[in-house]
Amino acid sequence: MIATLRYEFLMQIRRPVMWIVYGLTFVVLVATMWPGYRTLDLGLGDGHDPKAAMLASARLTMSLLAIVYGCLLADRLIRDRRLGIATILEAAPCSAAGRLVGKYLGVCAATAVPIALVFFGRAVVYTFTEGKVETLAWSLAVFATVILPGLIFLGALALAGPLLMPPLPFRVLFVAYWFWGNLIPADMMPTLSHTIFAATGDYAAYGLFDRARPDAVVYGWPDAALNFLRPAATPAVAVLWMGVMVALAAAILLLTRLHAARSES
């Protein structure tokens, strides 16, 4: 498992295309989110509060970079078979489940590195421009609770999805899923957005950091469908959300393993 983790990380982090796509998307991010990305104020006038600013930075960063994250992971699992290398790996005396977990951790970690760089880079810049050292502590807390659980779930989803369809249509669907299930307002159409299954980290932001919403509602939309999936954001629900993300990832990996075991014979 450690060996696979190490080499999968290495191979992904050295992919030029990863850095290029992230780089371009970052430019798009800054351009479209200007001046929000400069002030880190999403309309509440709290851009000078490090905690609120880091939450805003997390939301802006993830809004576009999560798409890149998913798309860059899409070919990683099926690649072993495509390259014809699966046979050699399977003939090695180690467990297939261990290799799957190693691959998941390795490639997801590598693909998350640019997101971490962007997020923490912004935090460092903020620390200097605002002269507030506590920003760094807030940025760590926000990354671990708001961004990371989402990446854990999205990583498993993006690795396993292409077992059901080729990577290209999967990527298109993934982008559509990201907007539909995470970004659009809950009352626009029936959606997973802002539910306990959304990967944006809003529950952690609202539940753990009592971030306020622009319309001052703690959570939930009065008339949206699926509102039973949108409990009010409390610290307990925020922790539940993290558990849901991890559990979904584990379930997807388990299904992936079963799928592989079935097609082996």
């Binding site: 450690i2 060996a3 696979t4 190490r6 080499y7 290495l10 191979m11 050295r14 992919r15 390259l83 014809g84 290398i85 699966a86 046979t87 050699i88 790996l89 399977e90 003939a91 090695a92 005396p93 180690c94 290799r99 082996e264 014979s265």
Partner: protein, 290 residues
């Protein structure tokens, strides 16, 4: 490592009967597995390597049953496998790729790994290219990386699936010589449809045809299968219509044919000395007449 198969069958999901009741006993040393396309060679080798579950029958390798989890791990620890459709990670160098496989094979100690990889790169003559990315390697070089990865754990059983296909003649000869040098104490199971490769390296062999074992024994016995079945026919008229023509050469104003057939294909046919290839063809003729 001794291989014993009894009543081994494999039926794929779509209903393809790839192996039909194979009984086979493979001793140590170099062993050839001959068969035409689709005969079931790869299927058999994948079962031996623990990658595929047989539909029925028993598979014992050095006393271990590969169909159990413990047996499979025990076999895989002393197994080297060079698959037919070998792939590599294009962005790794040969040294990195071998390092990865060595880790998977459980060679955890860094210095041991480094030493072993160094040795094997020498054996397959790739030392000077070892730090280049694999995407720049030729087919022959990749095949040598493939054999190096198979040898990392100093296997007692080496399974190589059609390793010489697609290699130029020099590379092919170098490769099969390397294989027979490696045999020694090990069991090397070499599958191929190139009779010459077996003729030059193996004393014992088995022949698969359409999922059935149609021959097992030594090379001499297979040659003997074509005894009184190889003929030369020299004619300026039409080619012989019965039997399998294995060679046709211009001869004077006509042609000289070499024919494998159970009976003389022509009144003028003269018996000829059989080769291993003739034996193989005679066997194929008996198994499935054209």
């Amino acid at each position: 490592m001794r291989i014993r198969l009894s009543q081994l069958t494999k039926t794929y999901k779509g209903g393809v009967h790839a192996l039909k009741g194979i009984d086979l006993d493979v001793p140590t040393g170099m062993y050839g597995l001959l068969g035409s396309n689709g005969a079931g060679k790869t299927t058999l080798m994948r079962i031996l390597a623990g990658l595929l579950r047989p539909t029925s029958g028993t598979v014992l390798l050095g006393g271990h049953d590969v169909t159990t989890k413990e047996g499979r791990l025990a076999v895989q620890r002393t197994l080297g496998y060079l698959p037919q459709d070998l792939g590599v990670y294009p962005d790794l160098t040969a040294r990195q790729f071998l390092d990865y496989i060595a880790l998977l094979k459980g060679i955890d100690e860094r210095s041991a790994r480094r030493r072993r990889i160094g040795e094997l790169l020498e054996v397959v003559a790739l030392t000077e290219h070892a730090d280049r990315k694999l995407k720049g390697y030729s087919g022959g070089m990749l095949r040598r990386v493939g054999i190096a990865q198979a040898l990392l754990n100093d296997p007692r059983l080496l399974i190589v699936d059609e390793p010489t296909t697609g290699l130029d003649p020099e590379e092919r000869i170098r490769f099969r010589t390397l294989l027979s040098r490696l045999a020694g104490e090990r069991t090397v199971l070499l599958s191929t449809h190139i009779v010459e490769d077996v003729a030059q390296t193996c004393r014992y062999l088995a022949v698969l045809a359409k999922g059935r074992l149609v021959f097992q024994g030594d090379v001499g016995a297979l040659v003997a299968a074509a005894h009184r079945q190889v003929w030369t026919v020299t004619t300026s008229g039409a080619a012989p219509s019965t039997g399998r023509i294995v060679a046709a050469l211009p001869h004077g104003s006509g042609m000289r044919y070499r024919v494998v057939a159970p009976v003389p294909p022509d009144p003028s046919a003269r018996p000829a000395e059989p080769t291993l290839e003739d034996g193989y063809l005679a066997l194929m003729e008996a198994a499935a007449p054209v």
